[in-house]
């Protein structure tokens, strides 16, 4: 057992750092650092840059065009990326639908979709939740009825993230109502340009447009877009979710938030002294930092064990999801509290990249203050999405503990 990086890992880190220094566009870096609003173009542009370097998908196997990184290499990349202000890659494509296609898709599906995911040409979104099917996902009702060479799809998906940008959506649909709910679900790939699809924004607690309702009215989907076998979609869905959840540890993002928190606590004052001198507040930071130190090692331990056994991540991913989501929430909360009274204004325009504070605000309203309160509100989602904390605990108790 050794927590030190090998010489090869250190040189990989240097390579990543040099690449970020040279290739990460300044405007994207600044948006990430200041918490400004991110647009589709920013994320796609970054994906294309990574793709040109051969790093479009770090942990994908090389035969699919991935970089074939180890768990530790991916960790180094995430850590350096977060430190440099690189935006996240779009998980829905790279870490969710792609592993499903690699394991269960046809050669034709793999050949068509994987290169386009890698190059940033296709933006994917997810169609899982429905109005009546949240935690009880298997009760979903959106129907797909086979009509010759097509499925006819009718129904509604909700809590869809960034579908307003999407070229494709992967959906869980009901193809049979006869057996147990889990046994009548199929996994379909649907072109977002198909006639009959309507995207309606849902404005979230922070006033932003990140999620949507998506309505499907007699949408025709070619049968070639079925993944795996009909009525076996639940298996693929669970496989996908465990991949999603390992990503939810979000160590790099947490580290960046922690660093930012310390910067704020060093700048904001209490009794004329930096807030960080206040032991009561500082100890709260210390507690979160300890959780994060532990999670960083837990994350590497879990993912290394998964990689050593060449298997998909199992229910242990739930642990990473629970802790990672709690930590980012606590960090967001502390950032807001560190601002104190300065956390109250709601300056929607301050999220725009070119925002310049009005002269009367500029001197006391710091460059990174505006997005933080909104982030606190927004991050309440993390313990709800991708299977709520309560669902994760059900998974741990059933699949790991055998209760």
């Amino acid at each position: 057992m050794n927590l030190n990086y090998t010489a090869e890992e250190e040189s990989f880190r240097a390579e990543v750092r040099a690449f970020l220094e040279a290739e990460l566009p300044a405007d994207i870096r600044s948006k990430v650092r200041l918490g400004r609003r991110m647009h589709k173009d920013d994320l796609v542009r970054w994906q294309k840059i990574l793709y040109r370097r051969g790093w479009g998908a770090g942990m994908w196997p090389r035969r699919y065009g991935g970089a074939g990184w180890s768990v530790v290499e991916q960790h180094i990349f995430d850590e350096e990326g977060a430190a440099a202000g690189a935006p996240p890659q779009i998980a829905f494509a790279l870490r969710m639908v792609a592993p499903v296609l690699m394991s269960f898709g046809t050669a034709a599906q793999q050949d068509h979709f994987l290169p386009r995911i890698l190059s940033g040409e296709h933006w994917w979104c997810q169609g899982y939740s429905e109005p009546g099917s949240g935690s009880d996902l298997a009760s979903l009702r959106m129907s797909a009825v086979r009509e010759g060479a097509h499925y006819r799809v009718n129904g509604q998906k909700t809590w869809n993230t960034l579908g307003q940008y999407a070229d494709w959506i992967f959906c869980l649909v009901r193809t049979s109502a006869e057996a147990r709910p889990q046994q009548g679900i199929s996994f379909l790939l649907i072109d977002m340009k198909s006639p009959g699809i309507t995207v309606r924004p849902i404005i979230t607690i922070d006033g932003e447009h990140e999620i949507n309702d998506i309505f499907f009215d007699k949408v025709q989907v070619p049968v070639e877009n079925l993944v795996g076998e009909e009525n076996k979609g639940w298996t693929y869905a669970k496989f996908l979710l465990s991949h999603e959840r390992t990503n939810n540890a979000g160590i790099g993002n947490c580290k960046r938030a922690l660093k930012r928190l310390k910067e704020i606590a060093t700048r904001q004052l209490r009794n004329g002294q930096p807030l960080i001198e206040d032991a009561r507040f500082r100890d709260r930071i210390a507690r979160v930092e300890l959780e994060l130190m532990a999670l960083e090692i837990t994350n590497l331990r879990v993912l290394s064990a998964v990689a050593a056994e060449s298997r998909a991540p199992g229910p242990e991913a739930s642990l990473l999801k629970i802790k990672g989501s709690e930590i980012i929430q606590q960090l967001a909360e502390l950032q807001m509290h560190a601002l104190g009274h300065d956390a109250l204004p709601y300056l929607r325009e301050a999220l725009d990249v070119d925002w310049v504070p009005a002269p009367l605000l500029a001197d006391h309203y710091g460059p990174f203050a505006p997005p933080l309160t909104g982030q606190y509100f927004n991050y309440r989602k993390t313990t709800i999405y991708a299977g709520s904390t309560e669902i994760q605990k059900n998974i741990i108790s059933k699949l790991i503990l055998g209760l």
Binding site: M1, I276, R282, A286, L290, I297, L319
Partner: protein, 386 residues
């Protein structure tokens, strides 16, 4: 980075597991805890045969040159088996201190004997009302010709009753809580003027208060430099903390196993209580706490070998604070989920819980170490800002 144990470490783990199952079952352990000695002399001899007593020493002193991870492996099993032998005191803390700071002649004289199981040493570093402060030293060391005279009291010296020597801190200059002016002496158990008041500890071990009245010690028995022993003692205590973290992880693992088993077998309201979601989620929280605690024990074990004192202190205090809190949660919940069976002497759960609690209270509790970690955080943050 690599999280695998070596084949040797896995074999060691297996050997200890078998030893505990065969020779250290719970009933046996209970009777040992009540015996006059308080532990098993045969077990101690067995550890010597297995090389465990010289594990962290260089080969030239009869050891195996083991690492912090080797100690972690052993201590996790010490926790699972609730082993009572003075391994932490003699091998990890005092053995480690002598290895790091003693003159060659002393190492040559003592370390092979420790490794062979014929010599035990205990750390006498704390004093009454000083809580966890190693600088709280009122006992005095006064120059006397070529040697020293020691006078004062040391409190709750763990494993003192069976020790042949003490590593004892005394103030050779300065005021009561000064960091400077503390010296460390190797004091034989039979030194004239040294008396022990022995007692059991809450978790089945043995300890004593020491009373020293003009105890004459020769100059050669000063460990490290006179007046400047504090870093040496701190380093040894840090190694003890890393070991305690691993012991706690062993106990947490055992408690989770016992509690899970209880949830699967205990019936109420006509069904196993593990079918209730309130209890399932509690158990899931205990599982998560155990995994996170294990990660922190690794963090503690690895820099314990390292040489950067600030980074080491940060990692060690962070781990002790985290594990103190996680272990308290698991321990209290294990008792709670066992119901009244959790608070009886005849079931191992209460013994595990007591040991976990005492681990938190040894070498600084969660609050104490959170404050140290938090102070390191303050210094870093202000340093980064300036």
């Amino acid at each position: 980075m690599d999280f695998r144990l070596t084949d040797e470490q896995l074999a060691l783990q297996e050997t200890l597991r078998r030893f505990i199952a065969k020779d250290y079952a719970f009933e046996r352990r209970r009777s040992l805890a009540r015996s006059p000695l308080g532990y098993s002399a045969q077990a101690w001899a067995r550890y010597a045969e297995l090389g465990l007593l010289g594990l962290p020493f260089p080969e030239e002193f009869g050891g195996l040159g083991g690492s912090g991870v080797d100690i972690m492996v052993v201590m996790e099993l010490v926790g699972q088996g609730l082993l009572l032998e003075p391994y932490l005191s003699t091998v990890v803390v005092c053995g480690g201190l002598l290895r790091d700071a003693a003159a060659h002649a002393i190492k040559e004289a003592l370390l092979p004997q420790i490794a062979a199981g014929t010599l035990k040493v205990a750390l006498a570093a704390y004093e009454a009302a000083g809580r966890y402060e190693l600088t709280h030293v009122a006992s005095t060391a006064v120059r006397d010709g070529k040697g020293w005279r020691l006078t004062g009291r040391k409190s709750v010296v763990l494993d003192a009753p069976s020790a042949d020597y003490f590593l004892l801190s005394a103030r050779s200059s300065g005021n009561q809580t000064d960091a400077q002016g503390i010296s460390l002496f190797l004091v034989p158990r039979d030194a004239r003027g040294l008396t022990l008041q022995a007692y059991p500890t809450q978790s089945g071990g043995r300890a004593a208060d020491l009373h020293l009245q003009d105890v004459a010690i020769e100059d050669a028995a000063v460990i490290g430099a006179a007046d400047r022993a504090l870093p040496v003692i701190e380093r040894a205590v840090e190694q003890g903390i890393a070991a305690l973290c691993a012991e706690a992880v062993g106990i947490v693992t055992a408690l989770n196993e016992a509690t899970l088993n209880h949830l699967k077998t205990r019936k109420q309201f006509g069904t196993v209580i593990g079918s209730f979601q309130a209890l399932q989620h509690r158990m899931a929280d205990m599982f998560i706490a155990a995994e996170q605690a294990r990660s922190m024990a690794i963090v503690a074990a690895i820099p314990a070998d390292g040489d950067d004192p600030a980074a080491r202190r940060r990692a060690i205090s962070g781990a002790k604070a985290y594990i103190g809190q996680a272990a308290r949660f698991v321990g209290q919940q294990a008792v709670q989920l066992h119901g009244a069976m959790g608070v009886v002497d005849e079931l191992n759960v209460s013994h595990y819980f007591k040991r976990l609690t005492m681990i938190d209270m040894t070498f600084g509790d969660a609050d104490y170490h959170l404050a140290r970690f938090s102070e390191a955080l303050r210094v870093e943050a202000l340093g980064a800002a300036s």
